[in-house]
């Protein structure tokens, strides 16, 4: 199994990694939710992370974006060790994160949710000497993001008043507004109808066209995986059990075993 992982070859080995986790492990009590995960990712590469519920996908994301601190192991953004950085410092370093469970500022307007992100990146947060509404560049960029994510018509509503699908869109729009180098999508289309999901997948496809970005995507829908993935990583019980080109990985016995045990229809 180990050799299978190491044998998997990324299609863009010539480019140096933009993100790397080394022997990354976190234990909750005795339980290792992420166990010795070593993987690196390159600009221009979209990696889909699959694995059954509880495999540790979200926990691994939390380690990379800084919500959790690993028990052992290290995380590098480019050449920089970011293992000990706070989430806000990682955001500034270019790591963007959208959450699986929608994680907005519920009572603030949709526009304000996005504006706060733009304002953070512009470094205007500590300013007390003007009105927030007077930051012209921040406002203009906010409107652009609202338009691209098709949220302009609901921009004045409190985020909590949006239907689920629009909340997911806002979740993604906020990460896009961070303008990160690394995009981490955690089940962005979860709970969305078949009619709503393409809007988000289109946004991801647009990001992918910019070959300098690294995209990590946790996603179960196999048609999505096939359409977007350059590479698939499989997590199981916190361990990285497969890593490679989509068709190679889907053909691996261990993957079939996990998925046939859990929900063959998803793979099929």
């Amino acid at each position: 199994m180990r050799s299978m992982v190491e044998g998997a070859v990324s299609s863009r080995q010539d480019v140096s990694p933009s993100l790397r986790t080394e022997n990354l492990t976190i234990r909750f009590g005795g339980h290792a939710a992420v166990n010795d995960v070593t993987a690196s990712f390159r600009p221009g590469e979209l990696t889909v992370i699959v694995g059954p519920n509880g495999a540790g996908k979200t926990t691994w994301f939390n380690l990379v974006s800084g919500q959790l601190t690993p028990t052992s192991g290290r995380i590098f953004k480019g050449e920089t060790d970011i293992t000990r950085l706070s989430p806000s410092a990682r955001a500034k370093a270019g790591i963007g994160r959208a959450f699986q469970l929608t994680n907005l500022f519920p009572k603030l307007s949709v526009r304000e949710n996005v504006r706060l992100v733009v304002q953070a990146r512009a470094g205007k947060g500590p300013d007390v000497f003007r009105r927030a509404s007077a930051l012209a560049a921040v406002n203009a960029e906010t409107e652009e993001h609202l338009a691209t994510s098709r949220l302009a018509s609901v921009a004045d509503l409190p985020a909590s008043a949006l239907p689920h699908g629009d909340q997911r869109k806002l979740e993604v729009a906020m990460m896009i507004a961070m303008k990160p180098d690394i995009f981490m999508f955690d089940e962005p289309t979860a709970g969305m109808s078949a009619a709503e999901a393409p809007a988000i997948l289109d946004l991801i496809a647009v990001i992918k066209q910019d070959r300098s970005k690294t995209i990590l995507l946790v996603e179960h829908k196999m048609d999505v995986v096939r359409a977007l993935a350059d590479r698939i990583i499989v997590l199981h019980n916190g361990e990285l059990v497969a890593d490679g080109k989509p068709d190679e990985v889907m053909a691996m016995p261990i993957v079939r075993e996990i998925y046939l045990g859990q929900g063959a229809e998803e793979v099929a």
Binding site: N103, L104, Q119, A120, R121, S133, S153
Partner: protein, 367 residues
């Protein structure tokens, strides 16, 4: 309320009636305070007006913490007291000069900043409940210190002192032809008026500054932290730094309010600048006015201060008027004013769950 109904972007934004009403009331209060010495010339009313000015600053600065950022602190009177005691001790030791106010007030502000930084950096990363406990402990220690260091603080009795001559009633701001104090609308233009306007204008400036803060980019970050601390951090705001900064800022403003209180009262003691009674008053005022609204501070302070000062008088009138009626007369006995104050609070909280200003200004969303 359907999604379609609230999302129609074509309807022009309505001018919200509740919001207008609140702003009108606050403006009226502001004007009343601005002309208080002429509108309400008696000594007790001036006392009330000055207290209202100072408490608006104190309560609004507390609203920055609890209403805007979601920080629960019980140490706000501690900072109020540091400003007041610093000023009082210096005025007592150095004599009644503006230099003494600057030196003592400055020392109080420095002590406030150091303490607030320490408390903030040591404990704002931990759970909210633990932070609240730390502030409670710090405030208790400060109360004990104030009573123990009685050589400086006068202990439980507090300290009385003189204030600069320009603020004394005998001081003539303007003289008429006969060398007597000039009058405007029959009100003598003496040092007491100067003291009131010192309090009023400083309070006004501080309140306007706080209005600016909550509308500024910093204010927007505070609200984001209140709404979802974890996401605020995730999009790039250093939450601990912002919380510490706003804690220090609110503490400094409370200390400035304390300086005003000491200058106005010519007295500083635990009961007027340090005790937990004041902390509870601040909490009630911010809740009654409406947390996270700033203008709520104005309304909460006025409602509660007027009730505290005038409810007894009002009940006396009621009791006299109902002298023959058995039960009603007894209920309106002025000694029972605290009971009625309690009833008023309960009714206010029941009918204005988000505070008076908060509930009125939100009227549109509810419909």
């Amino acid at each position: 309320m359907t999604y379609a109904a609230i999302s129609s972007p074509s309807t022009p934004r309505r001018v919200p009636a509740g919001r207008l009403a609140v702003y009108a009331v606050v403006l009226a209060i502001g004007l009343a305070l601005a002309f208080a010495p002429f509108l309400f010339p008696d000594v007790r009313a001036q006392e009330v007006a000055a207290r209202i000015c100072i408490f608006i600053v104190l309560v609004a600065s507390y609203d920055l913490l609890i209403g805007y950022t979601g920080i629960v602190s019980f140490a706000h009177t501690m900072f109020f007291g540091l400003g007041a005691y610093g000023t009082a001790i210096a005025l007592k030791a150095m004599g009644p000069s503006f230099t003494a106010i600057l030196v003592g007030g400055g020392a109080g502000l420095v002590a406030t900043l150091v303490l607030a930084l320490l408390i903030g950096l040591l404990s704002l990363r931990v759970k909210a409940i633990f932070f609240a406990m730390v502030t409670l402990a710090a405030a208790s220690v400060m109360l004990v210190l104030a009573s123990q260091l009685s050589d400086y603080t006068g202990g439980e009795d507090g300290i009385t002192y003189q204030i600069p001559r320009a603020f004394a009633p005998a001081f003539k701001l303007f003289e008429d032809g006969d060398g007597k104090v000039a009058r405007l609308f029959g009100v003598p233009l003496n040092g007491r008026i100067a003291a009131y306007y010192f309090v009023f204008l400083t309070s006004l400036a501080l309140f306007l500054f706080m209005l600016r803060v909550v509308a500024s980019p910093l204010g927007s970050v505070l609200k984001a932290i209140r709404e979802n601390e974890m996401r605020a951090e995730a999009i790039g705001y250093k939450v601990v730094a912002y919380r510490t900064a706003v804690f220090c800022l609110a503490a400094l403003i409370a200390a400035l309010a304390g300086i005003l209180r000491a200058v106005w009262l010519k007295y500083a003691g635990p009961d007027v600048v340090l005790s937990f009674h004041i902390m509870i008053d601040i909490l009630l005022m911010v809740v009654i006015g409406g947390m996270g609204t700033m203008v709520g501070a104005v309304i909460g302070v006025v409602v509660m201060t007027l009730a505290q000062f005038y409810l007894k008088d009002l009940m006396q009138i009621g009791a006299d008027a109902t002298a023959g009626v058995p039960v009603v007369h007894q209920l309106l006995e002025p000694d029972r004013w605290l009971l009625w104050l309690g009833v008023i609070f309960i009714l206010l909280v029941y009918f204005f769950p988000a505070g008076i200003a908060g509930t009125l200004m939100n009227k549109e969303w509810r419909r």
